[in-house]
Symmetry: C2
Subunit: 425 residues, 2 copies
Amino acid sequence: MNLLYAQAGGMTAVINASAAGVIAAADARRARIGAVLAARHGIVGLLAESLHDCRGIDTEALAATPGGIFGSCRFTLPAQAEQPALYDRLFAVLDAHRIGVLLYNGGNGSLQVVARVSEAARRRGHPLVCVGVPKTIDNDIEACDCCPGYGSAAKYLATSMREVCRDLASMTSRKGRVFVMEVMGRNVGWLAAATALAARDADEAPHIVLFPEAPVDESALLARAEAVVSRLGYCAIAVAEGIRRADGSPVRARARGDGHLRFGGAGEEIARLVSEALDCHCHYAAPDYLQRSAAHWVSAVDHAQALAVGRAAVDYALEGRDGVVAAIRRLDDEPYRWDIVPVEAAAVADLERRLPPTFITADGMQVSEAGRRYLAPLVEGERLVDCADGLPVHYSRKLPGLARKLPRYDGWGEDIVYARQDETP
Amino acid sequence: MNLLYAQAGGMTAVINASAAGVIAAADARRARIGAVLAARHGIVGLLAESLHDCRGIDTEALAATPGGIFGSCRFTLPAQAEQPALYDRLFAVLDAHRIGVLLYNGGNGSLQVVARVSEAARRRGHPLVCVGVPKTIDNDIEACDCCPGYGSAAKYLATSMREVCRDLASMTSRKGRVFVMEVMGRNVGWLAAATALAARDADEAPHIVLFPEAPVDESALLARAEAVVSRLGYCAIAVAEGIRRADGSPVRARARGDGHLRFGGAGEEIARLVSEALDCHCHYAAPDYLQRSAAHWVSAVDHAQALAVGRAAVDYALEGRDGVVAAIRRLDDEPYRWDIVPVEAAAVADLERRLPPTFITADGMQVSEAGRRYLAPLVEGERLVDCADGLPVHYSRKLPGLARKLPRYDGWGEDIVYARQDETP
């Protein structure tokens, strides 16, 4: 029986650590697991029979490499009842390669895939065991205390905010100065909240944090920014890209046109608003992809958890726990203790965990003490990074494709397949 | 005889390492140097008699802290002939505190201060020795092979570009994907060029680099981007904020209004242009201040050079070399060897060193081999950073102000003073 691993959704700095955890755990269970295979670009590669053999991968180097070594996809798998032929193909590929375990590494959308494939297998009486490996910098999977990928993005953003604070505090000008950093988070403010760890007191950045969960009150925001600028001479604001006004309309600098432009915009709009109202100098930063790929500065806790959920998923699969996700559970805040428990994928798939109201202060513009207590352990610890010529070394060996055993598949529409088949090996 | 040190201009991740170098070298020359003093906010603090005593500063912690611990200013010091009273005040403060050495740590504008104060002292027959300590992430001081601050910003940007490349390579979509990172550089492309170190071959990011020194040819840019996207599925572009069109007009997304908004804009405009023309998905990053304050990821070479120019400046001062700047000289590319030589501040002040044409490929969109050879050693080496609770520890002790000996000074106009006197201790 072979094991198939696949990555899906947006990348993180540590998703490859989960891959390394899977490969290492499977290697240690060679008596019960044959080959460890990986699908290229997630479920899309599985349908296309675009597979790799993971033999010979240097798991230590892999675990320090950002991005997803096997490629990812964003693919909404329809239910079996809607497109049974898609599932016929899927199980044909699994059978052709004697795959008895499917480990799917992704966020909320990917756990939907786990739930649906698992359900389809049961309906077909197929012995496949499908397990979810959680991953998302958005930290928005229900029933997971935290999600691998989040802690490292959080550490990167909090570190950046603290560093910029030293720079801001150095400069001087007749006018005040405002710094705005826009972070990812269309619907949830977990990453914005993480920046608050940079501040040890009210004088340190970020002085204001804006969340999608708390509607922006412009006059309260301006009053707060003005108070900070008149006290310190500057003000740093962290803005989640998905912040909204009280009427529910998104805050952003301009329309997104025909949908091609993916610029956040909310940070720029807040920067414009505050600097014009306060007659201040203004700087605006948008780390964008940098915040989810900064493998040179991961959280050691996050990295360990990413490895561990990969290993746990292998264990769950061998225990026959079909349809679960390996969820991180918090046992204690301080000292921080955690373990991993199986959670039903179908119960959490496609939900979205928002910041609890208790993590946001009553004014909606800062992280509460409860929020800080939650966040603090997730950014703990540093990891040494292998460098050559002054830059991090990443695992980037071209992986040979596994020989195809089935005819080429053309049974999908362009509307549901984002990967071109010619991208597959 | 006391020594006065001051910081000016935009901050870097290692300017405090130069401060630490000055303090440590002066401590080692206690027989010839009395107190080491520092001015708050550069020359502005000197005029305001806003000074600190550096005794007791933990130079090792200081050297790992971004921003400028003593505060900076952007101050265009008029020549003595234009505003003699300003110089009367300046020398009165120096004399009141028995200051015989002034070390000024800054970029091109700050070296103008060195040249003018030095000239003023000579005209007055004053024994002051004034020496420049170079610093700028822009790397644009003439007669310096490189400038402290640049190597660390270069390493940060090249690392970020390499990390994002792994992320880009993981994703897939029917449409191509474009990633644009805007870096600092209004008139010079040194930082944009540094991102090229991320790529070990033509398939790695950045695939295109745009410099202020090479006018943007839109049709050539689009053709190149299209070729890269059709080969790889994605294309990464590094854009200096100050890029221009062939007619000399700046490329940017929109007007800067009344001058308050400091958004670069060029990166966004390139992102819009390319993604619309190629019908691609597009992401846009603007690290802004993050690139000049990322002390968690400095170049060890840059850090050593920042320390060394601080130490050398003390030596030059004690040798009576008035009006010079401690310039880094390259002796060899590989293995990289460098030393420090005195260069006349007046000869380089207020100039701006642009990328030499030989560092840019003929098409104007990449760094040449000569450029890569120049850049490579500057990002070498990593430094361990002290962390607490998962975030870097910075030196942020409040420094007590030195007691004033002169009456408060009101002889400057708001037009030349950016610092409010009430900001001084």
